[in-house]
Amino acid sequence: MALRLPRDAASVPLIRQMLDGTLTSLGVEPQIRDDIELMLTEACSNVIRHAEPCDEYTVSAMVYDDLCVIRVTDNGHGFDPAAVREATPGSEHGRGLQIMRALADDVRFTNKREHGAVVCLEKRLRYSPGAAGPHFIKT
């Protein structure tokens, strides 16, 4: 699935709930769904906070067998993950990247040649017993 969204805070719970609904229908385990919801939220809120001056962004999510690949793309001024300082226990900011790196099996940040950034998140899926997903997802 792929969606173009307004760069608006309220778009984040919307896309989060949509993806969670899809993964629930496929029978993905709750713990994995929780992790995906959170890493997706972090990627989208980064765009809303930092991707000046664009007013839209795109989220795509693909499931291949047991792998979920999420791409969050914006047309802002790009992003340098190395410039983000690690959060110390008492600091307010810097936990979004820490959370994405902890929950995803793979995280990649790419700046596009024109304008904007792509965050690509991958997560290995596990299915509940008797789940529908594994029967009809074939690459």
């Binding site: 307004p6 608006d8 805070a9 309220a10 778009s11 984040v12 719970p13 919307l14 989060r16 929780d34 919801e37 959170l38 939220t41 972090e42 989208c44 809120s45 809303i48 959060a87 226990p89 008492g90 600091s91 307010e92 900011h93 936990r95 979004g96 820490q98 959370i99 902890a102």
Partner: protein, 106 residues
């Protein structure tokens, strides 16, 4: 425009030195700002936060809790998270906030 995710904040200030907060709903990028409206009056010594009704929290929600912690500290009060779901516990541990918020063992 799109609807906000709901967050309910229940405040119980039964005695002058303790504020009990129960948060219910999603504490996320969309709603985290609402914690700024919680009033901490002079003379407060403890802020106890119950997160067992929070279904979802993200780094913006965690940042809002850290801000509340700092506001409490400015009044010489201690903020504690007194209850949380297993998922929130693992997230607080992952971000090393369990110690800052004095999270009791499960």
């Amino acid at each position: 425009m799109l609807d906000k995710t709901p967050l309910q904040i229940e405040v119980n200030a039964s005695d002058a030195t303790t504020v009990q907060l129960a948060l219910i709903g999603d504490l996320d990028f969309d709603t985290a700002g609402e914690l700024a409206s919680v009033a901490l009056s002079e003379g407060v010594e403890r802020v106890d936060v119950d997160l067992s009704g929070v279904g979802f929290i993200d780094s913006s929600g965690l940042a809002a809790l850290v801000r509340l912690y700092q506001r409490a500290a400015a009044e010489d009060a201690v903020l504690r998270v007194v209850a949380a779901t297993p998922y929130l516990r693992s997230l607080l541990r992952m971000t090393a906030l369990d110690r800052l918020f004095h999270l009791p063992p499960a």
